[in-house]
Amino acid sequence: MSKDMMTGSDAVALGVKLAKPDLIFAYPITPQTHIVETLSEIAPSWGGRFINVESEFSAIASCLGAVSAGSRAFTATSSHGLLLMHEVLHWFVGARMPLVMVNANRAIGSPWNIWADQSDSLAQRDTGWLQIYCETCQEALDTVIQGYYISEKLLLPVMVMIDGFIISHTMEEVEVHEPQKVDAFLPPYAPQFKLDVDDPRSFGNAALPDDYYRMRKAIQRTFTSGFEVFRDCHNLFEDVFGTRYDLMEAYLCDDAETIFLVAGALTGTTRVAVDMMREKGMKVGLIKLRVFRPFPKHALQKVIAGHQDVIVLNRAVSYGAQGTLTQELRSAFYNVDDNPDIYDVIISLGGKEVFPEILMGVCEGIKADPAFKDEMIWV
């Protein structure tokens, strides 16, 4: 085990290197650029090929072709690039093709904005991709490796999120895993079916309504049973690498009166805010939502009690409704008798800075006026 200092982009590239995909198709976009720039240089080191395609649509479509032919593939994108992929994102799921894609979360224009915002990936909520949000550079590296494990077991694609700039461009310490350990954790991709002229099969054919319905139902069944694969993945990862990951993490929640729910790098700043508030005697905690799809409803129901208030920190809005994470959490507690008060806070869009003091102010403001419960709160 050795540690090094690297940016989130290089941590992702290292995770990809250790997972050894045969083919990488990508189109550069800020703030994802450094990931693919590094991969274009290092791909030959493990016998991989990097192909710089002409658009994000081509990148994801080429990945579909590569995976259909039995290769392990990778791509990374951000913001408008992810939106351009949208059609093929659906197709990937219907075709039950495994892939790991890293999305550097960035705002969507207009107006142009290149900073952190989760609107791009949360807008892909209903495509059927698994979604995992990372807090640190280390988590980005580890989640890329775990992503292949999960994706190839479930035959569903995995989207790994890092907040643009905040993780992609931040240099911090990262544990560099030994390749043999990664090999022990992640076996080579061995598809049951693939495009093969010696064993011809039909891929992406038309399906009549009843067959289509049956296949879609199977996708949902896989999401439901997918939690077991996550559990196996996290257990094996802990055995091999000594680090524990889960669907979500609860920090100081047991005796908390108020709990922040947050996804992505903002978790770190929220940790600091929670510690500051604890020092002032405020009983607060936080839940880091790591896996967004499948949504860990039961895990959240276990951690959050009815007498607690939850402040959801959103970096995306479903306009005319609520913050995207707020909708999900409220839905998870709809049929629960003793459900918590859930506050809908739009904390940051387009990279708006969040300081611990702002989070403390939000908490104090909500305590002072419970009527905020019925509002969408813009800070």
Binding site: K3, M5, T30, P31, I114, W115, A116, D163, G164, F165, I166, H169, T170, M171, E172, E173, A265, L266, G268, T269, R271, V272, G351, E353, V354, F355, P356
Partner: protein, 190 residues
């Protein structure tokens, strides 16, 4: 936790300087984080870079607003940017300038100012041109010498890691500035 803010111009190497410094801290067993002002960097435009160093993993993800150390890579920046903003009581500002610290007394705040002309060691070691010298390694030398928060050998390892071209020239410029800061520091104590 120690927080450091670099003020530079796009192309001056503030980001690489922040990487080298954070790596130096890392080598000395500290936990460090380095990141730039996030944006569309243009050559010549004012930029900032930040370093956090702590005994435990730095969780904060917001930019540094109350630095203890501020490093100003070009003296003209003090007229266009509020380089003294938020600097902590008793903190230190290092300015790349041939003028003495008293020339910057108009910068208000309860902090110390040190100056050094780090363009000179850069040019003596062939780093950049007279109009745009590469000063990110000698200014780290001045910083290490004046602050004593990081050992010179740790920074030299960082230079070797992050500057693959003209590495020896950069190390030489760093050492020159470091020794000058050390000798000036001793003199001011007398």
């Amino acid at each position: 936790m120690i927080e450091i803010r670099f003020h530079g111009r796009g192309g001056q190497g503030a980001v690489i300087a922040s990487w080298i410094l954070s790596y130096g801290f890392f080598l000395e067993g500290k936990h460090a984080q380095a990141f730039p002002t996030f944006g569309a960097e243009r050559r010549g435009a004012p930029v900032e870079a930040f370093v956090r160093m702590d005994d435990s993993f730095p969780n904060l993800r917001c930019k540094v607003v109350n630095p203890y150390y501020v490093i100003v890579m070009g003296e003209k920046l003090v007229h266009s940017i509020n380089v003294a903003a938020g600097i902590r009581r008793g903190g230190l500002m290092l300015i790349n300038s041939p003028k003495g610290p008293q020339s910057f007394a108009f910068l208000k705040g309860d902090f110390h100012i040190k100056t050094m002309d780090v363009n000179a060691p850069a040019l003596r070691n062939g780093l950049g041109s007279k109009t745009s010298p590469f000063i990110n390694t000698p200014i780290l030398g001045a910083f290490a010498g004046f602050s004593d928060v990081v050992k010179p050998e740790s920074i030299i390892k960082g230079i070797t890691k992050f500057i693959p071209v003209r590495t020896e020239n950069n190390v030489a410029a760093f050492e020159e500035a470091y020794l000058l800061a050390k000798s000036e520091g001793n003199r001011s104590q007398v």
